[in-house]
Amino acid sequence: MRLGPRLEQRVATALLWVMTAMTIGVLVFIIVFVLRKGLPVIDVGFLTKNPVDMGKGGGIFSTVIGTVSLTAFAILIATPLGVGTAIYLTEYTWENAMTRVIRFGAECLAGIPSIIFGLFGFILFVTKLGFGWSILSGGLTLAFMILPTIIRTSEEAIKSVPPDYRTVSFSLGSTKWQTVTRVVLPSALPGIVTGVILSVGRSIGETAAVIFTAGSALRIPTSVFSSSRTMSVHFYIMAREGISMPRAYGTAAVLIIAILAVNIATYYLMNRFIRRYS
């Protein structure tokens, strides 16, 4: 069917509009559906009380602690590792076979399904190294899951620092380390922070890897060796075992709100930084 150019243009525009609407529509549907069912359950008590009776009653406080501690632990490990790797790949080596292998390895790591990570974490951290079900095991596993993202975004951020800044820094008598830490990294910080925040968003919702490594204890964790349940695991268990659907939705709603908040914060910070530094 041959359309004239003007008609073709309008059909194309309409089609693109429909596709965009569908994409946004799915997102809106999920958010509205979960919030509609979950918001009524949420109140101050829900967020500050511990689960009672295996989750049939009470709140989700200990799972909030679980999510926060696991995410914090993962970020604390993955950020220096990831940023360090990115610095090494961009500033301390020329492009060669070795850097390509490292980068390829990181990309492969990114593609591994999270449940395999869970299995890996279980075998290595929980069993072999004897850490048991714990925030330590879960945090380490999560750290390796988010590592590729941090490496990739940090690399991009470092590469986008104008080469001229390095030239100027060297010509003023700086060492390589001074140039990296005082000139390159400060300029690359917005990009790096964005990658870290994106990883926070992912860690908050991660379920499969965590359930095999951090366990599902309902008590508030007392140390990194304590087992701990995260909100996403809590939702999974409550929904699957039919313990309390309203509370499951409530947990899901808190999760979605947290992830939305993290993403909005990312956008806001990113814009502020870009405006300040360009």
Binding site: W94, Y165, S169, F170, S171, L172, G173, S174
Partner: protein, 252 residues
């Protein structure tokens, strides 16, 4: 003190298999302004970057011959390259202020060199901005971003930045090519004043600028030094026909 500050002897510079500078022999006299002229891709910038070993950062960089500064070959192993780069301050064709305040830009070099006291740094910043001819214009806004300055001001900031390190030499690579005539004049005036205390090498594609400012001038072509001598002679009666052709605009 030896009147010859830099002695370039049979110096060639390669990047991989490409030869950028061929068998240069050139003396630079103390407290002179040496103009370096020549068409594009003649090796002028490469020569400048060879003096402060900034070319070391380029992959595949390799040299033959010697460059002696204050009697020592700077390509000898064991040379402190960091200190060398402080002694030979470089101003680039496009002004490159770092994304920070005016004060922090000028303070950058001294800070990297280990100067810590705030009062000492403030003194150095003020002194350098005065020497660079920028102090009056920025003294009330030292903490504002350097990126907000005009092109001419940014270039004078770059000059102040290297002066903060108390160099012996000032290397300028086409410093006024993107600037308006007033800014150009201000920078040329600064150079005339600075000649007393520094040795200056000025690369320029503007032969008239070299005639105005330089005591001696060197003409580069295709990586070779064609001839060098007092500017008065070079611009009126060059020895080599290629120099004559270039100055008359027959090519370039």
């Amino acid at each position: 003190m030896d009147p010859i500050a830099i002695q370039v002897s049979r110096f060639s510079h390669y990047f991989g298999s490409e030869r950028a500078l061929a068998d240069l022999n050139l003396d630079v006299f103390r407290n002179e302004i040496l103009g370096v002229i020549g068409p594009a891709r003649s090796g002028k910038s490469t020569f400048l970057c060879a003096l402060n070993r900034l070319n070391d950062l380029v992959r595949g960089s390799r040299v033959e011959g010697t460059i002696s500064i204050e009697g020592r070959d700077i390509y000898e192993s064991g040379t402190d390259v960091i200190e060398l780069r402080r002694k030979l301050g470089m101003v680039f064709a496009t002004p490159i202020p770092l994304p920070r305040s005016i004060f922090e830009n000028v303070a950058f070099g001294p800070r990297m060199a280990g100067v810590r006291q705030r009062t000492r740094i403030s003194e150095i910043v003020r002194d350098s901005l005065e020497k660079g001819g920028l102090w009056e214009e920025v003294k009330d806004r030292l903490d504002t971003s350097a990126l907000k300055l005009s092109g001419g001001q940014q270039q004078r900031l770059c000059l102040a930045r290297i002066l903060a390190l108390k160099p012996d030499f000032i290397l300028l690579d086409e410093p006024t090519s993107g600037l308006d005539p007033i800014s150009t004049m201000k920078i040329e005036d600064s150079l005339r004043k600075l000649k007393k205390d520094y040795t200056i090498i000025l690369v320029t594609n503007n032969t008239r600028q070299a005639a105005r400012v330089a005591d001696r001038t060197a003409f580069f072509l295709n990586g070779e030094l064609v001839e060098a001598g007092p500017s008065a002679r070079i611009f009126t009666a060059p020895s080599d026909p290629r120099t004559d052709d270039y100055l008359r605009g027959r090519f370039g």
